[in-house]
């Protein structure tokens, strides 16, 4: 079994899906000749030719919007937005066109497309190479939203996204691109969109996270384990739809929820999970559901690491939940 980084897993998924289905095309800024600024699409233009892997002009509206038209016309486009922060010049195409096409046409036209984007902080990228905009997508009916955290999941989820009949936003925490290698089967496998993964079983507290913050969450969990606490760790993997069942089952068992995400605090996925758990497990919670999140400020360059939930911050907050 090959061991791959997340970048390798993306490349493998794209390559396999392009071989399997000739309707799959890739495009975006720098994806073709250069193979992407992170080299996620390296070698694919050579392999599949310039009609299947295209460099687009520098316009996210053109990229996302063209994907809608291609998808409606029968292709299976995988568009790349170079950084999640740059989705905003194209977000009307996601919201007004991609998300609403099936609905507004009464199911006549659809937009089966994937928009890949490197997301999150921790790479000294400042305001515009660090943001985590998943809440915007999840708040907009008609989109699915995946945020990966492991190479194995990345391959299986990207393949599912490409085969999905809905527009899927596929978010790749850039600080994990080459952070770890893991065994990734060379053959075809799918991971369903909407299903969380239990990364660690436990009974004292449920830590729910996804994407880049899974790293600190798992580290914090290990430290807790050393201290004799037994946390359960859930990786949401999809944030729209998110796996309520998995989360509720776990919290019903532990009675405590700590929700961790590096996205800004207010009106976030973390808010949603915390509010839902608080509502549905009102009688089963031993402590308030608490969030450790990014802050409601532009992402700072100088305090790059401090913006995201640190292991210390997770542990401090977990202590509040556990001691409640």
């Amino acid at each position: 079994m090959p061991t791959l980084t997340m970048i390798g897993a993306i490349n493998a998924a794209l390559s396999e899906e392009m071989s399997r289905d000739e309707r799959v095309v890739l495009f975006g800024e720098d994806v073709a000749k250069r193979g992407g600024v992170f080299l996620a699409t390296e070698g694919l233009q050579q392999k599949f030719g310039p009609d299947r892997v295209l460099d687009s002009p520098l316009s996210e509206a053109a990229i996302i919007g063209a994907a809608v038209g291609m998808a409606a016309h029968g292709l299976r486009p995988v568009a790349e937005v170079q950084f999640a922060d740059y989705v905003f010049p194209g977000i009307d195409q996601l919201f007004s066109q991609a998300a609403k096409l099936r609905y507004r046409s009464g199911g006549q036209f659809t937009a089966p497309m994937v928009v890949r984007m490197p997301t999150g902080g921790g790479v000294k990228g400042g305001h515009h190479h660090s943001q985590s905009p998943e809440a915007h997508f999840a708040h907009t009916g008609g989109l699915k939203v995946v945020v990966v955290s492991t190479p194995y999941d990345t391959k299986g989820l990207l393949k599912s996204a490409i085969r999905d009949d809905d527009p899927v936003i596929f978010m790749e925490p850039k600080r994990l691109y080459r952070a770890v290698k893991e065994d990734v089967p060379g053959d075809d496998y799918l991971i369903p969109i909407g299903k969380a993964a239990v990364r660690r079983e436990g009974r004292d507290i449920t830590l729910v996270s996804y994407g880049g913050s899974m790293v600190e969450t798992l580290k914090a969990a290990e430290e807790m384990a050393v201290a004799g606490i037994n946390p359960e760790v859930i990786d949401l993997r999809s944030v729209m739809p998110w796996d309520k069942e998995a989360v509720l089952n776990s919290v019903a068992k532990t009675g405590r929820l700590l929700m961790i995400s590096e996205a800004p605090h207010t009106a976030s996925i973390a808010s949603e999970v915390a509010a839902t758990v608080s509502e549905e497990l009102f009688d089963q919670l031993y402590a308030p559901a608490i969030r450790v999140t990014g802050f409601d400020i532009p992402y700072p360059y100088a305090q790059d690491k401090l913006y995201m939930p640190t292991v210390t911050r997770i542990l401090n907050t977990a202590k509040r939940v556990l001691d409640y």
Binding site: P57, A61, A62, A66, G69, A72, S96, R104, D166
Partner: protein
Amino acid sequence: MISEIKDKTEFQAFTPEPIRVLSDEGEWVAPFELDLDEATLKRFYAEMVAARMLDEKFIILIRTGKTSFIAPHAGHEAAHVAIANAVQKGHDWLFPYYRDGGLWLAMGTPPSEIFGQMLGNAADPAKGRQMPSHPGSKPLNIFTACSAIASHIPPAAGAAISMKLRNTGQVVVCSFGDGATSEGDWHAGVNFAAVQGAPAVFVCENNRYAISVELTHQTASHTVADKAHSYGIPGYRVDGMDVLASYYVLKDVVERARAVHGTALVELEVYRYGPHSSADDDSRYRPKAEVEAAKQRDPIIRLRKFLERQGWWNETAETELRAGIAHDLNTALEQAEAAGEAPAEWMFEDVLSSRPWHLEEQRRLVLEELR
């Protein structure tokens, strides 16, 4: 395929004056010979009259409270009929906008479906999801219109790129107003199509107003056609109230797009006789005299004069034509009305390809409330 293009070298891009074939009085003023037969010209005429009568019907729908919104298209009929006749129906793709009522009809959409959409009821193939005046039809490859101005331009570019990549022999024709050209997405979409050499024809129905904003406040470019320079594509400036000029230029440009994967911009100079929409009062921003002057260029009267000159039309034909259209529209409206309200359950369909738990919960909440 290239050999099939009829090369009307008379049609130059970036002409200082709009290209015309018929004068306001319906005289032939083009430097080439008529090569359309009587039946075709009569069809153009009938389609324009039907478009106008559809518009009149829309106005009645509003007056009688049967619909909540209309975007009057009287004055745009030549543009609509020219586009519909320039494309291969059901093969090429259209990306229209809300003021394309006449195009929707001329493409062959069953009027009962049009009225269904206008009523937002169970007769609407789009299930009452959008405001009235938002054309769309999968069987006819009419990409369902979206209210957000110019947001359909990048998707139109994408469909055309798909046509080119897969060499399907299809063409995209995408229409929009003059105001739309100011949106960033307009620029982004046209640029992407052009740089890919995608078979897309972008058609501006330039009525010189975006609601109340005059073209001189919209852009300082001399013409809309001039904007084509920005993308290295030809830009044609055409009298859009001259159905023959509009048709000839569009047909030519569409076939060229098909043959050589060419992108083009066509500006059709039209005028909207009515207010912007049923929510507008145009007397606030434009003088009545201007509207009356524009009506002197009326596309329907103009073609009728030409037909009469040819001896192909008379009052009897006119009466018959109008009676036939009136009957068809009335029947279609009755049919649409009979379909009844869009069921509440439709509300939670077609959001995604299947219904995740959260939509299932939300749906149940509404259905319980209605029970």
